[in-house]
Symmetry: D2
Subunit: 212 residues, 4 copies
């Protein structure tokens, strides 16, 4: 059966909940047309996340993969454009590991672009009244590591893949301040992202760039 | 019958929707215990809003009044602490009027404090997982005008009153960027605010201040 | 001799330097036309600052007083419009005191407006290429306390007075992040503010307001 | 003679001044030890900037190249980590050209990392009391184009190179709002960056990463 794989992360640092998992979990087992959606959780740990992701790729043989992570301080759903080959952790991951300036994949290329139709996805989410934009950095923590590993693992295949950062949930913003997005909005945004990615062969040509 | 009056504003400037009205409209006709909630819309115009508000006060004789307005760029539900006796409009209102440095009420005091239990309301909303905080400026546009007029009109009475600024709706943030809050979250936050205000006689003593 | 009194604060919290003092200290003993400028430091403590300020007012009998404080996170020189009669400290002051919801002056009015020509001052500073704006909240910490006390002490006199918040210094932003302003820019901005206030009888009529 | 090449941009869009040029222009003709610093201006145009830069590389045969650009809204000196192979212009450049999703260099790699000791440079600037940090996106406009082209042109050589984004000048922030940095601070920051880059063989190992 045609399959879309979505991943979210387990809670990180002080949090007891991770909006990336709350955003994709309700889509697990649902259908996008005749394509089933599978949602799975990744550990927030450099030493485990890539291997865990590889197992999911092997098990489900998806035609489309979207990994999702929390982007603290972000106000909208951010479709990431590029993954870079560097780990540089400001704080330790969930296993206490804090790599600084190590490559995600030794001798890998400096970066991979998303192979998702990022402009079409942004447009589709926005048309539904949900804030979204293209982002040009996925950071240098486990999110970027997973994104880079994903693109590396699928490079040269027909499987399209990419990464989305989501805002904090309202209950997290109660503690930390900053913008937030309701879970229902996140889930709907992710659902639209999946459908848009499945339905778009050639990405639309409209600006999603940044001056700096 | 015991009555709570909520007001929201009509759409303003380029907008076709105003989150302050979307936040209170669904509460119109509902009950908070044995107290009915009445929600009405105010014009976003200096020349009309106070008179319109006065008519609502006369008509419904509420025991509690909360006026609500849009706070563009705000990320949480802001319980306003103080209204000041100044109109200073950066842009024209919906009737094209743009007062600069005029008083809301000639010879009125410089300011009125909210008579709502603002700390208890912030706490109650946050306990429900919805971001909220005390705000120390309601600006100098029609929101502040309505807030000041409201406090002036009810000064010396037993009727408690105040003002709440709400974030933009997600569909507005699609256009303007910045943080947003889902309508369902706004309505729930306002509902909790009303109940908290009704149930609190003496405000709680916890910090909601700002360094600057 | 005609005198302008400027005050800045001693370092606060973790800081070893306070930009408000660095901004006014170099102006001490200088002349603005035939008016001498006196700059003095205030303690960052609720229990001491008003009394200390009163002594300075008694000693120098200034015709113009501008108190200056640090506004963490602010990007420009903020000419404050209004002081409110409330102390609400998020963190303890330099003596460990943290008042919550106490009045600055018992039975004082809710607020005092600045008696400085705030619009003319903003314009003059901006004409010199230095970012400045009107601010509508001085917070609820010692800055606001000093501002309120100052306006209260001079109410009904011909002495004009007000408050200015300045950004952090670059060396502070190295530690805390956020915007900053060079000391030379701060000093020049304050010097222009003094001259503008001395030279302006009637404030200019241009918008400095905020929507919310 | 050993040479460091610095570039800044001509004014862009509505501006009459570009802080990137004001930051490097005063360093032109100065010495860093026995190394001369040459500062030159680049056009803010996709069709001209790379060729212009190549001419400078040919003419001066520098051992170190730092291109500098304006980062509107940035509060500190941002040492860029990575250039990506994409042009995506939100607004037209100074020749009216607005490429969307075109490569900087056809068939070039997805990205190049800076070959500067970015962590040592950040540390050195910060030690001098000037805010600085590592940045993980140089945008998708002419700044990133120049950065990518520079790294591409020098790939495989011993010449080290990279890009720095600087905040707006105070006189620009007067118009546009947001944070700014004084020209003297910018020049000092750039001077330190050059010296640090010249003196550092192996970059220091300390975190400059971002969660997302």
């Amino acid at each position: 059966m045609r399959t879309v794989l979505l991943t979210g992360f387990e809670p990180f640092d002080q949090d007891t909940i991770n909006p990336s998992w709350e955003a994709v979990r309700p889509l697990d087992g649902t259908l996008a047309g005749d394509v089933r959606i599978v949602a799975r959780q990744l550990p927030c740990a450099f030493a485990q996340a890539p291997e865990h992701l590889q197992q999911l790729l092997d098990e489900f043989e998806p035609e489309l993969v979207i990994a999702v992570g929390l982007g603290p301080g972000r106000a909208d759903i951010c479709i990431e454009r590029v993954a870079i080959n560097i780990n540089d952790a400001r704080i330790p991951d969930n296993l206490g590991y804090q790599p600084i300036d190590t490559p995600v994949v030794a001798h890998g290329p400096a970066a991979y672009f998303s192979t998702l139709p990022i402009k079409a996805m942004v447009r589709a989410i926005r048309v539904a009244g949900i804030p979204a934009s293209v982002s040009h950095t996925a950071g240098t923590f486990v999110c970027n590591q997973v994104f880079y590993y994903l693109q590396h693992a699928l490079a040269g295949t027909a499987v399209r893949s990419g990464f989305i950062h989501v805002p904090a949930l309202p209950q997290q913003a109660v503690q930390c301040g900053g913008p937030s997005m309701a879970q229902t909005t996140l889930v709907e945004g992710l659902r639209i992202a999946v459908i848009s990615a499945l339905n778009t062969t050639d990405d639309v040509l409209e600006s999603g760039g940044q001056i700096s």
